[in-house]
Amino acid sequence: MKKKMAILKNGLFTENPVLILVLGCCSVLAISVTVKGALGMGLALTFVLVCSNVVISALRKLIPDQIRIPCYIVVIATFVTIVQMVLEAYIPELYKALGIFLALIVVNCIILGRAEMFANKNTVGDSFFDGLGMGLGYTMVIVGISVFRELVGNGTLLGYRIIPEGYQIRIITQTPGGFFCFACAMAILIAALDKKGKKFNPQIGCDGCCGNCNLGCTSRTPVTDKTSKEAEK
């Protein structure tokens, strides 16, 4: 049980997928406009992450190594489709608010990254807690940013007006505000860690491209890169 708690804590803080690993930032930037949307997105992603982690970990001995990425994508896409259908049927307004980003959970690096880095090497139980920790870590950050953006940019919190009309900084809810708030969140984290005496230099996860996950985040060189070098020889 102690190990499970450690895994959970790892996802929530030590290796927070958004602020420390810097994975899947598209949806964080786009959906953090309203607290409601952020909460929905966070829970949807957590659900998909937990389910895909469990299934992939259960099947880890059956999936051949060469075609593991397509297998993972099929598993992930299945759960995303389930979430899409459930939300469309029961919470249509949330479905509308999340828009394309709900479908884009399929290519979210956090999920593929965890499948590749954790679920295919660990037991089902551990993978469950890893998915839960990572998912909640993501939810925590996206909700945190959205509280600030909704309050300052729109003057409301969960739809209730807190700051009177006319005192909002609109740009915070728009695209530049998303980048700006994310940058500030990261800078605050860096400053806090710096005070503790820890050096932290965030790098975009997966070597800077969601696509790299396709090749396995863990230090594997792109397949074509290798073959093209061979061809040159």
């Binding site: 810097v22 899947g24 930032c25 598209c26 949806s27 930037l29 786009a30 397509p70 994508i73 099929v74 896409a77 299945t78 995303v80 489709t81 899409q84 394309i100 479908a103 884009l104 399929v106 290519v107 979210n108 690096c109 593929l112 740009i171 728009q174 695209t175 530049p176 505000g177 998303g178 980048f179 700006f180 994310f182 940058a183 500030c184 990261m186 800078a187 605050i188 860096i190 400053a191 710096d194 230099n201 965030p202 790098q203 975009i204 996860g205 997966c206 800077g208 491209c209 969601c210 696509g211 790299n212 996950c213 396709n214 090749l215 792109p222 397949v223 074509t224 890169d225 093209s228 061809a231």
Partner: protein
């Protein structure tokens, strides 16, 4: 609205007013990750334009002629991602065999694109916007051009950023994000232009 005007409107919208990266927050990872070197920006943009146009056409055909008749439209997410993955592999093999120079230029960027969210986004939005085949292809092409434009512009911004001296906490990724915020602010200037221009 005539067909030509509609196509022009799609191009203008996707490149400027609804730019995927700087307005809609799709494909942020490659935008931040690849924009350090000019050469890789150009290569990546070329590969994205190429794959997006092809993927738009392929998914449109599969959706209209296979999925709708079979009543599988609800599986679009799962089918499209597989179609894109297969398409990228296929393109890679064909380019390698028949067009080695193009393969050399785009080759290493192609596998990076399978899970690029912009490609999946453009194919899904083509369907929800009910575009026909030509419009889908133009939409994919223009979205790719918009991505390339943002990437290359931002590459220039990052070059001058290297000489900047930000506060300690902002060094590295945070100041890059601030620069992205300023770049995206320039694109806000296009808001609302498209409809009046082609009305």
């Amino acid at each position: 609205m005539s067909e030509g005007a509609k196509l022009l409107l799609i191009v203008f919208t996707m490149v400027f007013t609804e730019n995927y990266v700087l307005v809609q927050f799709v494909a942020i990872c490659p935008f931040l990750g690849v924009s350090q070197k000019f050469d890789s920006c150009v290569g990546m943009s070329g590969a994205v334009i190429f794959v997006m146009t092809l993927a738009s056409a392929a998914t449109y055909l599969i959706y209209t002629y296979v999925m709708v008749p079979l009543g599988l439209a609800y599986l679009s997410t799962i089918i499209f991602i597989l179609v894109i993955a297969a398409l990228v592999q296929f393109v890679e093999i064909v380019l390698k065999k028949y067009m080695p120079p193009l393969y050399k230029a785009l080759g290493i960027y192609l596998p990076l694109i399978t899970t690029n969210c912009a490609v999946l986004a453009v194919t899904l939005l083509n369907i929800s916007d009910e575009y026909n085949l030509l419009e889908s292809c133009v939409d994919g092409f223009a979205a790719g051009v918009g991505f390339g434009l943002a990437l290359i512009l931002f590459c220039g911004v990052r070059r001058s950023l290297e000489r900047a001296n930000p506060p300690k906490a902002f060094q590295g990724l945070p100041i890059t994000l601030i620069a992205a915020a300023l770049t995206s602010m320039t694109f806000m200037g296009f808001t609302g232009i498209a409809d009046k221009l082609f009305a």
